[in-house]
């Protein structure tokens, strides 16, 4: 469906539905409005999402809530150290009755896949998933199989220093459009959480308010948002700074820059604008860039000044 054919009301409608969906999720994931919007922006920007936080912070809840609100087919894989690639993509199983192999699709054949604790699995299993993310198809026994459309992955991972983890290699981190952290809820949100009903129950009650065609329209709309010259200048300055700064070992790759644009457009759409402003870029920059920029290792072990913070604080918006 092309954007031109949409009635104005319909576009406004989509926006309305989008915000309705965001509001729905907020009733389940309390006090995380910003993260919810970022996650939604990631979906609208047609990218995969990586959520990094401690266990029990609501990563899975967020993913499930998104799936329900969007009415997606939803699968979940819990990554463990003995997870085999076949457990992700599926395997051929011999059907004794018909005496032939049958492909039994793995959990990856779904619209929204929650890959829980992805860094607990061995690199082999990890790469099976990441390959699927990149190619949007899987190859089993020499046969390629298309994944359903759309295909989103929300992966969660525990912080690196936890025991028994296999860090994702840099090249694979790059495949996630965004990486967000949820963090502890604030006081009021936590209180609401504690005093409220069982979140699991509420999750089940979520309505699907943004069906797939609507989401696809929003995606198209986001892609067609306007990028003005001053804004592109700003993005280029950001990227150049990241490449020249000696605090970053590697700067943002062109793919990273493209991701930044994609995410900023999606954010602008959520903000109900038909053009992108620097604030959009600034809003998504930490989520888009942080896992792509590799910092000078700080010998004391704690994270120093965030690199993206440095970027935001050093690059002028207008020159």
């Amino acid at each position: 469906m092309s954007l031109e054919k949409l009635e104005p009301q319909s576009v406004a409608d989509d926006q309305q539905l989008l915000h309705q969906a965001l509001a729905e999720i907020e009733t389940v994931v309390l006090g995380k409005s910003r993260q919810i919007r970022l996650a939604m922006a990631c979906l609208i920007g047609q990218g995969h999402l990586l959520i990094e936080d401690l266990p029990g912070m609501g990563k899975t809840t967020l993913a499930q809530a998104l799936a329900r609100v969007l009415g997606f087919e939803f699968n979940r894989i819990q990554f463990t150290s003995d997870l085999l690639p076949a457990d992700v993509v599926g395997a051929s199983i011999f059907n004794a009755k018909e005496h032939q192999f049958e492909f039994q699709p793995g959990p990856v054949f779904t619209q929204l896949l929650l890959a829980d604790e992805i860094n607990r699995a061995t690199p082999k299993a990890q790469s099976a998933l990441l390959e699927a993310m990149e190619e949007r198809q899987v190859t089993v026994d020499g046969q390629s199989r298309e994944l359903p459309e759309p295909f989103f992955v929300i992966a969660t991972q525990n912080p690196q220093h936890q025991l028994g983890t296999f860090a994702l290699p840099e090249s694979q981190l790059d495949r996630f459009l965004m990486r967000i952290e949820l963090g502890y809820p604030d006081r009021t949100a936590e209180r609401a959480l504690l005093s409220g009903r069982n979140p699991r129950r509420r999750l089940e009650q979520l309505r699907c308010c943004l069906p797939l065609p609507r989401l696809q329209r929003l995606q198209q709309q986001a892609e067609s948002l306007h990028l003005s010259d001053p804004l592109l200048d700003y993005i280029q300055r950001l990227v150049e700074f990241s490449r020249c700064s000696d605090d970053c070992d590697y700067g943002l790759s062109p793919r990273g820059a493209l991701a930044l644009v994609q995410a900023a457009k999606a954010w602008a759409l959520i903000e109900q604008r038909d053009y992108v402003v620097p604030e959009d870029v600034q809003a998504v920059l930490p989520s888009v860039a942080e896992h792509r920029l590799r910092g000078d290792y700080d010998c004391t072990g704690h994270k120093g000044v965030s690199l993206t913070r440095l970027l935001l604080d050093s690059v002028e918006v207008l020159e």
């Binding site: 003005s228 402003v277 620097p278 604030e279 604080d313 918006v317």
Partner: protein
């Protein structure tokens, strides 16, 4: 440095070679052949070194070149000083330095010498063509200097040339301002330009043939520009006196009396020292002419003027025979002012005995002529009557005017008057003076130029070498010196219309120079072209040579009341400062790729300044709208307006309506104007 800093960039070297050949070219015609040959050899040598074929000279060869060159110059000129020997030395040094130069420092010295060689060329010639040519050479030398300072890796000579042209373009306005405004001071020390180069022109002796030779030369002798109020004298009055010849040895006329010695010349008084008041009832009415003469170098001190000439130009004096004289030989184009009064009687009160005697000197020759003189004198009633009888004799007998007279020998005057009867001005003048002196009338030959071509473009006269002429002055009692031109009685066209008309039938006018445009005066467009070109040259000389302290003062006094050193200095400094400012504006304007600053950005900066007064400053990395919204929060009374402005900024900067930007911008301007901070 990642490149040896002393190495000469090839780019610079290439231009240095080009500049060398360019700078030497004007000198080649003038210098002895061997100097030219050595220069060419050096150039070729360096060229081969440049192309990597040969090696540079080693130490003994360098020493040989330097000392050998110096010795050769000394042997040739007998001196190492003076413009000729000096310039030869300079040029040899330039070439030697060029072949031995290996470092940037050496090459820099060659460049400096190059500028010197260019400047020295102007000693010998200052024509407009040479100046244009040397300007080109200057471009090359500058390109060489630029090339020396470019990177060794830079190998685009044409780019170097382009940049050096640009730099020169930047410098030219400043140069002109300096030329006009730098105070002109007189020579700091006196210099004697001992130049002994052959120049076409009058000589101190006249024998048969001299003036005929000059008649073959189409070179310019001098130009005369009459003052605005002054008329141009008719052709028959244009007798430009230069020399007086009063001694005849039977063969040639020479200057017997040396009246040009310094102490005998009136340097201060405009020649009034020898002046007697004009007699009342003088035969011709007085007419006065004021003019300036711009003469080509002659290497002689004689100047030209209509009788009776006075000049107030510095260094010009008047001799006892009422000629103008410069205190040194005219070595370069020279300009002087003259006032002439035609018809003024000179020495009417009588001649001093020594002068009288000198003007009666005759060798004991030519008996037939003496007989003729006695015969005619006997028939005459007075001296004046005698003069006229002689003139009528020339007119009525079978004399003819020719530039191809037969050779004479023995009693030359007799031979001329009674046998050949063919000759030109010096023959007639010589014979005439002989006839005068033979009967005791003081007389002398005057050599100079007669006539001149009027250039209608500038209203000035052009006097060429072929206008050279000789005529006669006879001292008559009560009338003083009276000019007679026997040639005019033989060939009136010569005086009235010039040599060309006089020679129309014979076809001998400029017969040796078939290419001279003067030969084709019949063709209107050639004449037009020639006169235009001369006018250009004339203007060039006027500006370049005539612009002295006096001209500077005159020019400036047209603009300012008082012209003094202080004014000059102020003018100079302020003009140069203005030029430099303009230049810097030009450099940064022209080369700055950034177009004029975005009006939106300007508005934002202005708003930032206004908000800064309220203690609000944008952080690094803060978007404009964010900043203005933050300001709105801390300035509640303007919050609404600021919110609106923030939105407007956002729209203008980032919204897709690029083609509607002007109205949007206008709206923003209005909003900003209404904002009361």
């Amino acid at each position: 440095m990642n490149e040896p800093d002393y190495q000469i960039p090839r780019n610079g070297l290439a231009w240095l070679l080009a500049a060398m050949f360019g700078a030497l070219l004007p000198h080649m015609l003038r210098l002895p052949v061997w100097v030219t040959l050595i220069c060419l050899l050096c150039g070729v040598w360096k060229l081969m070194v440049y192309r990597g074929r040969w090696h540079g000279p080693n130490r003994p060869i360098r020493a040989l070149l330097v000392f050998g060159g110096g010795a050769a110059v000394f042997a040739h000129y007998g001196t190492l000083a003076g413009p000729d020997a000096g310039s030869a030395l300079l040029i040899l040094g330039f070439c030697f330095k060029l072949i031995e130069s290996r470092t940037r420092r050496d090459a820099f010295i060659v460049v400096i010498l190059g500028y010197f060689v260019v400047a020295v060329s102007f000693f010998f010639d200052q024509s407009i063509l040479l100046t244009l040519y040397l300007a080109l050479v200057c471009v090359m030398v500058t390109a060489a200097l630029l090339g020396l300072n470019q990177s060794v890796l830079h190998t685009r000579p044409r780019r170097t040339l382009r940049i050096s042209l640009r730099i020169m373009g930047y410098s030219l306005p400043m140069m002109l301002v300096l030329f006009v405004l730098v105070p002109r001071i007189g020579p700091i020390w006196s210099l004697d330009l001992g130049q002994n180069r052959a120049k076409t022109g009058l000589s101190e002796t006249i024998s048969a043939g001299d003036i005929a030779q000059l008649s073959q030369s189409s070179e310019l002798a001098f130009r005369v520009e009459f003052d605005p109020g002054s008329k141009v004298p008719p052709a028959s009055e244009r007798y430009w006196r230069a020399l007086v010849l009063d001694n005849y040895d039977g063969h040639r006329w020479t200057r017997g009396l040396d009246l040009d010695q310094r102490e005998q010349v009136d340097w201060q008084n405009n020649g009034n020292r020898w002046l007697t008041p004009p007699l009342s009832g003088s035969p011709t009415p007085l007419s006065r002419y004021d003019y300036q003469v711009m003469m080509e170098p002659t290497d002689q001190p004689w100047l030209f003027g209509l009788a009776w000439a006075r000049s107030d130009t510095r260094g010009v004096g008047a001799t006892r025979d009422f000629r103008l004289l410069l205190d040194k030989p005219v070595a370069r184009p020279f300009r002087y002012r003259v006032s002439s009064t035609i018809g003024y009687t000179l020495d009417a009160a009588g001649l001093p005995a020594w002068l009288h005697r000198a003007n009666l000197q005759l060798p004991d020759t030519d008996p037939l002529t003496r007989d003729l003189a006695q015969r005619l004198r006997r028939d005459s009633s007075s001296a004046a009557d005698y003069v006229h009888r002689v003139l009528r004799y020339f007119n009525q007998q079978d004399f003819s005017y020719t530039l191809r007279p037969p050779l004479l020998s023995g009693d030359r005057v007799d031979q001329f008057l009674f046998e050949s009867r063919r000759g030109f001005c010096s023959h007639y003048a010589g014979a005439f003076v002989f006839l005068m002196r033979a009967v005791g009338l003081p007389a002398r030959i005057v050599a100079g130029y007669q006539g001149g071509e009027l250039n209608p473009l500038g209203g000035y006269l052009l006097v060429h070498q072929f206008d050279a002429h000789a005529w006669v002055e006879v001292w008559l009692p009560q009338q003083g010196w009276v000019r007679f031109d026997p040639t005019a009685w033989v060939s009136p066209e010569r005086v009235e219309q010039g040599l060309e008309q006089a020679m129309a039938q014979e076809g001998s006018f400029l017969e040796d120079s078939p290419l001279s445009p003067l030969r084709y005066r019949g063709s209107a467009w050639i004449t037009q072209l020639r006169l235009s070109w001369d006018y250009l040259n004339y203007g060039w000389y006027r500006v370049m040579l005539g612009y002295d302290a006096k001209a500077q003062r005159e020019l400036l006094s047209r603009l300012f009341d008082r012209v003094d050193l202080k004014l000059l200095a102020t003018l100079l400094l302020s003009t140069i400062a203005a030029l430099l400012l303009g230049l810097s504006w030009w450099i940064f304007r022209q080369s700055g790729l950034r177009s004029r600053p975005d009006p939106l950005l300007k508005l934002y900066r202005k708003l930032c300044r206004r908000l800064a007064r309220k203690g609000l400053q944008p952080e690094v990395g803060e978007a404009p709208a964010s900043f203005v919204r933050r300001a709105a929060e801390s300035l509640p009374d303007q919050a609404v307006a600021l919110q609106r402005i923030a939105r407007q900024f956002e729209l203008c900067l980032y919204a897709p309506s690029a083609n509607e930007r002007d109205p949007q911008l206008q709206r923003l301007r209005v909003q900003l104007r209404r904002l009361a901070l």
